[in-house]
Amino acid sequence: MNMVNLTIDDVQVSVPSNFTVLEAARKAGINIPTLCYLKGINEVGACRVCLVEVVGGRALAAACVNPVTEGMVVKTNSNRVRATRRSTLEMILSDHNRDCLACIRNKNCELQDLAERYNIRQVTFEGKMSEPNIDDKSQSIYRDASKCILCGRCVAACEKQSISVLSFLNRGFETKIGPAYDISMADAPCVYCGQCIIACPVGALHEKEEDQNVFDAINDPKKHVVAQVAPAVRAALGEEFGLPMGTRVTGKMFAALHRLGFDKIYDVNFGADLTIIEEGNELLNRINNGGKLPMITSCSPGWVRFAEFYYPDFLDNLSTCKSPHQMEGAIIKSYYAQKKGIAPEDIFVVSVMPCTSKKTEASREEMFNPTTGQRDVDAVVTTRELARMIKTAGIDFMKLPDEGPDNDLIGDYSGAGVIFGATGGVMEAALRTVADILEEKDLPDFEYKVVRGVDAGIKEAELNIAGHNIRVAVAHSTAAARKLLDAIRAGTAPEYHFIEIMGCDGGCVCGGGQPQVKAQDLMDIDVRELRAKALYEEDEIREIRKSHQNPDIIELYKNFLGEANGHMAHELLHTHYHAREIYPDSVLAEEEN
């Protein structure tokens, strides 16, 4: 890589020639402010907050899009630069619904940070101010256009997912962000992955909050409230309390849940182990009996919705397994209810998830028990919502001891369950079990590192297990899924047996319900890798690292379910899918009137 020398605010730096001024300044220890910039996703130079003076140039230049050149002299903090940035900010603020105190992003907002940094004391351009403009019709995503600063980061994030539900609409003062025809997110072909929420620097997009429902259930003496936590939550919850990214907070997380007053607390890793038993056996059945191949995982509701909207011809390829928390919810309201002598209708199951799509998943009609009519899962809160609940309850997270989940009935989990939260994890967990079944022994080598990692959107491997040649692929992000499925449709892909697909880039650790990371921090780190590391760490220290060796799973089949893929398992743990129309005529007709 060619190096380029330049001077920024009297500091000499030498940086690769493909650096922007913004990146070079960061290397020199100077933080140029940004707002619309999101590394690798939105590099468009739209907001003009990052303007700098390039000596010899007439106009100020946007640091986020201007490349460095040899001998360049840059001033990032001159009076002219500061005054321009401040008036740009004032302009943005003049049309912003500035109710910081009542805003979900209060103290975690890139716009607020800049207002503070530039000592904005009054907003002089009192233009026409946007009225609150709320779309809360979907179960997953809440939009308030009056907080939107039109940075385009959500549009770019959705485009990176290859979905493009969001676009800039209208023009001039009427410009806004929204789905086609400005319809609700509930009627748009949105998969609810929440990557737009993760990208948004302000409070214009967030999850549909359910924390109050959970507090209500906890306070209701008639309700037996059971919490279950997904693997990826422990890899990120600490960030909400100032811990460095990648800090594993499993112990404190369980301690906090106990203090919040849940009657029972379990780990969705158990549900993940259960998924492996069902899905592993389903795979072997399909291979042995000429079933539909490749079989594709169905743990990620973002991916499932993507398939229903955009690849309905692959719906028969999807495993019929419910996702782990839905399976576990179904078991809590049947097996657990029976053993504890509690009526299923008195149980309230709360899933803590890194995911916004799970909120909608939990309300699908397929996710109700066909006999009792009860939902498997009654509420889904994100990692962010859990953090807010902990803060509201006055629990000093940092002072908590390490505790575990309750350890009766369904309390145990394997290391294989933990890695579900990282891309490749479901595949690896499945291979650990499938290989043992086929080889009929407890294999000592069970780490499948070929399917780990985040660098490639699509990972492939060909494995020889007990004389079987098994071809697998792993895709993370709906864009990677699109690429893989297009290749399969076109007949240019090898004949896979088994494919893992996760809707989000990096897998659940980077789900739409995880803590937002500021754009400037994203310049230095790979969130996907750091959070995944925490999960692989936990896998390594678990005594049991294969799903089929989880003693609570073995008991569950022996005492309740019977056979894997058997009648009862099908009733409780499996589901089906249906094609969904994009902007159906019914939606268009409503708009046109």
Binding site: I163, S164, V165, L166, S167, F168, L169, N170, R171, G178, P179, A180, Y181, D182, A188, P189, I582, Y583, D585, L588, E591, E592
Partner: protein, 163 residues
Amino acid sequence: MGATKTMTHDEMVQALDQVIQRYAANGRNALMQVLQEAQNIYGYLPLNVQRSIALGLGVSVAEVYGVVSFYSFFSLTPKGDYVVSICMGTACYVKGSQAILEKVESELGIKAGECSKDGKFSINACRCIGACGLAPVITINDDVYGRLSADEIPSILAKYKEA
């Protein structure tokens, strides 16, 4: 516009299909062109037409709508047999075109940008049409009416209502 009146619905669908097929290979690059031709066929860009164009060109529906709602020469609503255009340019505005617009709206029972239920009238609040000497001006299809006052609107519209 002329085509609209003489084509049946099926013919319009067919014509749109042909346009989309002709440009499908060019994908996003052909979007403006296809939208123009579709508007020529339909007189405006109904939502389902936008959806067909998006799917045909492999562009997201949101992006198509984004483009349609950005450019003022694309119309989201059908045009009536008689398009009443009220000039809102500076000269006309100063001479009271706002009151004229309001009068037209109340007489026809529709707002600017809308088309009446029977398809007879639509209202278009447009930018300067270059007849400032006649301000305030309206046009109804090819007929021009200048130096108007709001009181004259009912009798002017009556001619077209009966036609």
